[in-house]
């Protein structure tokens, strides 16, 4: 059989990329290293498990390279609040967020307080901090004078990331505008991060690990600041 010309191959690839992009298969997330390291076009001999690990490592590297300043800002906010005797809360709602905080294992900094699964804004006082992935809690908390650290994940309404088909009619307030600082978890709005032949949409997410890593980076930097000020840190 005659081999297609390189020009034909190029045009075919270009057309396929265009169709994928128009269909939403390529998200803004994939404009970063996450795309370069995505599970698409798995090289011969590479299995999907390995592709996934490489993808996650790429997301971590992007986070470390691009969000360091935001993590510093978040840690500054947390450390200032703790130094002033205020509280640092973290929302616990959804698949993994409650377990991130409450599960049976040692090592959580005692200054980090879980909210109830449904938040009563009256628990907040002026000067407290709320770390959250949940857009709906930001405005009520802000009205109470709470400083907000947003973790942007794919299926919460966002202004500048993952403009997909969830919350299409949402008009705000946007986390990016209402939070003091936002950190994107690098997960595309497809939620699934890997493409497999014969599956109808992308499979296998990564935001459970990524959101935990972001939180831990904020907490680590906060602990550094507290210890530098001579403030004791205890763990649960």
């Amino acid at each position: 059989m005659r081999e297609p010309s390189s020009r034909r191959l190029f045009l075919k690839s270009f057309a396929a990329a265009g169709v994928a992009s128009a269909a939403g298969a390529v998200s803004p997330a994939s404009e970063t290293g996450a795309r370069r390291r995505s599970g698409r076009n798995t090289p011969r001999g590479t299995t999907k498990g390995l592709s996934y690990l490489e993808l996650l490592e790429g997301m971590v590297e992007d986070l470390l390279a691009e969000s360091s300043r935001d993590i510093d800002t978040a840690a500054d906010i947390c450390a200032a609040a703790i130094t002033s005797g205020e509280s640092v809360f973290y929302t616990v709602r959804g698949h993994n967020e409650p377990r991130c905080i409450l599960e049976d294992r040692p090592g959580k900094p005692a200054f980090l307080l879980p909210t109830e699964t449904t938040i009563d804004p009256t628990v907040f006082s002026r000067g407290d901090v709320l770390i959250t992935e949940r857009t709906q809690y930001c405005a009520p908390a802000r009205e109470r004078g709470v400083r907000l650290i947003g973790i942007l994940m794919p299926f919460q309404p966002q202004k500048t990331r993952g403009q997909g088909i969830v919350h299409i009619d949402y008009q705000g307030p946007w986390m990016e505008e209402i939070c003091d600082v936002c950190i994107w978890d690098r997960t595309p709005y497809t939620v699934g991060a890997m493409s497999f032949d014969e599956l109808p949409f992308k499979a296998v997410p990564a935001h459970g690990a990524m959101d935990g890593i972001i939180l831990n980076l904020i907490l680590a930097a906060t602990v550094d600041r507290l210890l530098a000020k001579g403030i004791a840190v205890t763990v649960t």
């Binding site: 599956l199 550094d224 763990v235």
Partner: protein
């Protein structure tokens, strides 16, 4: 003295790289799950606290056909395959779950945990000795927590994020292997996407019809 943040970053990178070096066991784990499923067994997941289990159960873009032991599924059956995540090499509760599974016929056990005990904190054999595929999470028996001056006890364990990642890598191998065997597994449609109810009904019907 390195800051905790730098230590965290370095250990995170190092541990993630280490997982890649254990791809042979991850592939084996995926193959075991495929064997069990094709033989008619159930795909189960369990970890104390259910953090890893809830990260993959009814998760948009995750497997439809996976259940959490002791969360929905109350007892093991012959032929079951279990992914068991743990933060310790020989936690007595996790060992009891593993033995409970092993008491049934034709079961497969994949463990994601520290491979070896760090000291005499537990008695008996480690969890890995009961597994068909034991994947070391690379975090040691302190769950990858950091010992730093000024803080009593380990802080900020990384094992949760590593166990999540390994679990999904295993499921990638499972999905790809099932596709190669002509049995592409059913995915759970994200609950936040439009037309969730309609899509979920289709996915449920597909999973019930084909059994995977």
């Amino acid at each position: 003295m390195k800051t905790l943040r730098i230590q965290y970053k370095e250990r995170l990178r190092e541990t993630l790289r280490g997982i890649r070096s254990r791809m042979d066991v991850i592939r084996k784990a995926g193959a075991l799950l495929i064997e069990a499923k094709i033989a008619g067994g159930r795909l189960l997941v369990y970890d104390r606290g259910f953090a890893m289990s809830l990260d993959c159960w009814t998760r948009g873009s995750g497997l439809y056909d996976i259940s959490i032991y002791r969360y929905g599924v109350k007892e093991f059956l012959d032929g079951d395959a279990l992914i068991l995540g743990s933060y310790a090499a020989a936690n007595p509760d996790d060992l009891a779950i593993a033995r409970e599974l092993r008491a049934r016929a034709n079961t497969r056990l994949v463990t994601i945990s520290p491979r070896e005990r760090s000291g005499g904190r537990h008695s008996g054999a480690p969890l890995s000795s009961l597994a068909d595929a034991a994947i070391d999470n690379g975090c040691g028996d302190r769950a990858g927590a950091f010992e730093i001056p000024g803080v009593e006890g380990g802080i900020l364990p990384i094992a949760r994020e590593m166990n999540f990642t390994i679990n999904w890598a295993v499921q990638c191998e499972y999905i790809q292997g099932m596709i190669e065997r002509g049995r592409p597994p059913t995915l759970f449609y994200l609950v936040h996407f439009p037309f969730f109810k309609e899509m979920d009904a289709i996915m449920k019907k597909r999973m019930t019809t084909y059994g995977y």
